[in-house]
Symmetry: C2
Subunit: 236 residues, 2 copies
């Protein structure tokens, strides 16, 4: 499945028998090689040197573009967020009603995770959020775009009808968005991890789950507590 050399196709490469000393676009080629390995092996345990080999470059060339391995992985993760955002944006473009858009978007989200479990692990598995380093800037920026798109469609497609988007309702809306996101995120990971299914069709599964959640949000919106309210004193 897929040859292991000839990765360098970003540059026309005028003379095939001798690569020019400078690669031209090594950074991107390396990130793409990483994505390729992730896709092929579904494992995060590849080496920087292997990437260099795939790019037909010395083992130290990547260090001119990434300070260390973590920074490379951050770039790959960011690329994953870009792919996810693009995919969701594409999906929702095919539908007109906000409701349909919402479901299409959530399905795209889940599919992205199920089809690329290793990449999804990298994005959300907490490899990169060590104790010292919070989420790196490059990743945060990419993740933020994803989040904004997600929130917008959720509000338009499911929550907006029940709760108009006024500033008074901000907490409620934030809670609803968080609930949706958590649900889909958790389901994606359970599916990607093989803890659920894959006997069930994930798309339909997601739809019905989100449907249930939206019903709940409409019935009685969760109120994000200002800090005091704690759960189970609900009439039993």
């Amino acid at each position: 499945m897929g040859g292991n050399s000839e990765v360098c196709r970003a540059m026309p490469r005028p003379q095939p028998h001798e690569r020019p000393y400078h690669h031209g676009d090594l950074r991107r080629v390396i990130v793409e090689a990483a994505l390729e390995i992730l896709r092929e092996t579904q494992s995060l345990e590849f080496s920087l040197r292997e990437l260099a080999r795939r790019a037909d470059v010395s083992h130290n060339a990547p260090y001119k573009h990434f300070a260390d391995k973590r920074e490379l992985l951050e770039a790959v993760s960011a690329e994953g967020f870009e792919m996810l955002t693009k995919r969701m944006a594409n999906e929702i473009a095919s539908f007109r009603s906000p409701r349909e858009q919402l479901f299409a978007l959530l399905r795209a989200y889940i599919d992205h995770g199920v089809e690329n479990p290793a990449l999804y692990s990298l994005m959300f598995g907490g490899y990169l959020t060590g104790p010292n380093h919070g989420r790196p800037a490059i990743e945060l920026a990419a993740a933020e775009k994803t989040k904004v798109l997600l929130a917008g469609v959720i509000i338009a497609g499911g929550v907006g009808r029940a709760v108009p988007h006024t500033s008074r309702n901000e907490r409620k809306i934030a809670g609803a968005v968080l609930a949706c996101w958590s649900l889909v995120h958790g389901l994606t990971l359970l599916l990607a991890d093989g803890l659920v299914g894959p006997n069930e069709k994930s798309g339909a599964l997601a739809d019905s789950l989100v449907q249930g959640l939206l019903n709940g949000l409409a019935a009685e919106l969760p109120v994000l507590p200002p800090g005091t309210w704690v759960g189970p004193q609900i009439p039993d």
Copy 2:
């Protein structure tokens, strides 16, 4: 926080100045050392050799108990599931009403993840579920216990009232349990990953989210499709 030697306390060790040639309980000591490192560094990138050093043992001793590093990590993950199950069981023992038990259990689940993000990553982050290996047996066994406990309490505490536990309702119930689990799982990961909060109190957050979900489940239960039904043909 915590000395780095004197780990060996499982065996009485008659002469403190000279360890007996055979350690006595090395396997457990190594797993505990791994948990300790995870807690201290919140990173999965520790070495087998470091564990051996902590256990005051040669760098190859662990190989008498684990075939390779992966098998060691599997054992650690399994231990994580045991801890989680124990913690949840403890929590629910403090409450009588199924509803209270449900919320207590979910809070325990979330807290476990938020307090030990690296361990939670190991358990659910897909490190161990490569392409070749599905979830290892030891981990599956431990995870299954967790799942059973979770499902039982969810059914008793939230779903049982709306949907009696008959065989006809099996799909509905499974869907409701999956929805709950996904929601809490996703929320836990978002919190552990720092993508949400921690400005909000996670316990209260979870309660309100689950509350919303349960309302939804009660209002109109999601029907897990037999394979055909696909989402968004809901009246818009």
